[in-house]
Symmetry: C2
Subunit: 148 residues, 2 copies
DNA sequence: TCCTATTAGTTAGACGACTAATTATTAGTG
DNA sequence: CACTAATAATTAGTCGTCTAACTAATAGGA
């Protein structure tokens, strides 16, 4: 019972994710947006001025990671940090004008790639794919709960 | 026509991949194997003593990345580098005894998680999932070809 | 044969992510 | 009220990955 990692579904998925990142990056790099930043930008587009803790939770990332991300994006002028007036511990992240412009490109790019990804998929296939992916997500979540 | 990144298939896939990594890591970290190393170990299990270039190609990683990976794995004693006797430019990577031991644990872990991932999947669903994933892979590859 | 091109690998510096330890500030309790 | 708990963010150090610049060695052509 030999086991080939290359035949594994997660191996293939990993490659797809990587290709996806690279493809999106091709379209957005001119806006000073790096591959990990689109999710943060989009969360800010939904609601500006969230605390870093809120953002970290939504992005499923540790607060430490978020601090570093915000530092870089502040340096490239996409966002700006402002202290919360009530609670001095929290700092809130706001989009700059440049950030807002970048978001348009980012949305456009993600949309385009998602569309490209799903070329030749029927509606049923899309739905099924999502269902299976979700099932996988739940299975892994269960595994983590059992083994922590 | 508002666009929600959270509803995106690739967003969900990203989470699944992340959970997968974390889950595998739970099972292998005691063997001094870090999350990015299983693929390299398994390639060496297939064929020991490959050149770094060969390995980089198979892992779809740049030579620079491979150099760093091998450095770390050499430091933790999983592999060892030996110069090619014919061509002095190439250095070949070999498993150590510890590396070979780790591989057993890694295979076991990957198998277990892959199995867990696919809980409640029928055979048809597995096949279909792979087919759709492959289609996505081809779509993205085509996109990259068109935009490079 | 010698000089140039190509090739394999490395290094430096950046981004993305994590854990563990640290700093400030707020909340709660005796 | 004072002291301890808990919370938000940061820092330091590591792993994973990339690009660009560099070194060393081989291959090829004039």
């Amino acid at each position: 019972m030999d086991f080939n990692y290359s035949d594994t579904l997660t191996h293939l998925m990993g490659h797809v994710i990587k290709l996806h990142r690279q493809s999106v990056d091709l379209l957005i790099q001119e806006h000073d947006v790096y591959p990990g930043q689109p999710p943060l930008l989009l969360r800010l587009a939904e609601q500006d001025g969230q605390s870093q803790k809120e953002l970290a939770n939504k992005l499923q990332v540790t607060p430490a990671t978020l601090t570093v991300m915000v530092n870089r994006m502040q340096r490239t002028g996409l966002v700006i940090r402002k202290p919360d007036p009530v609670d001095q511990r929290v700092s809130r992240v706001f989009l700059t004008a440049k950030g807002r412009q970048a978001i348009d490109a980012v949305k456009e790019a993600l949309q385009q790639i998602e569309c490209k990804c799903l070329e030749n998929f029927s509606l049923e296939e899309k739905l099924l794919f999502r269902r299976l992916l979700w099932q996988m997500h739940e299975n892994l979540q269960a595994f983590k709960r059992e083994n922590t």
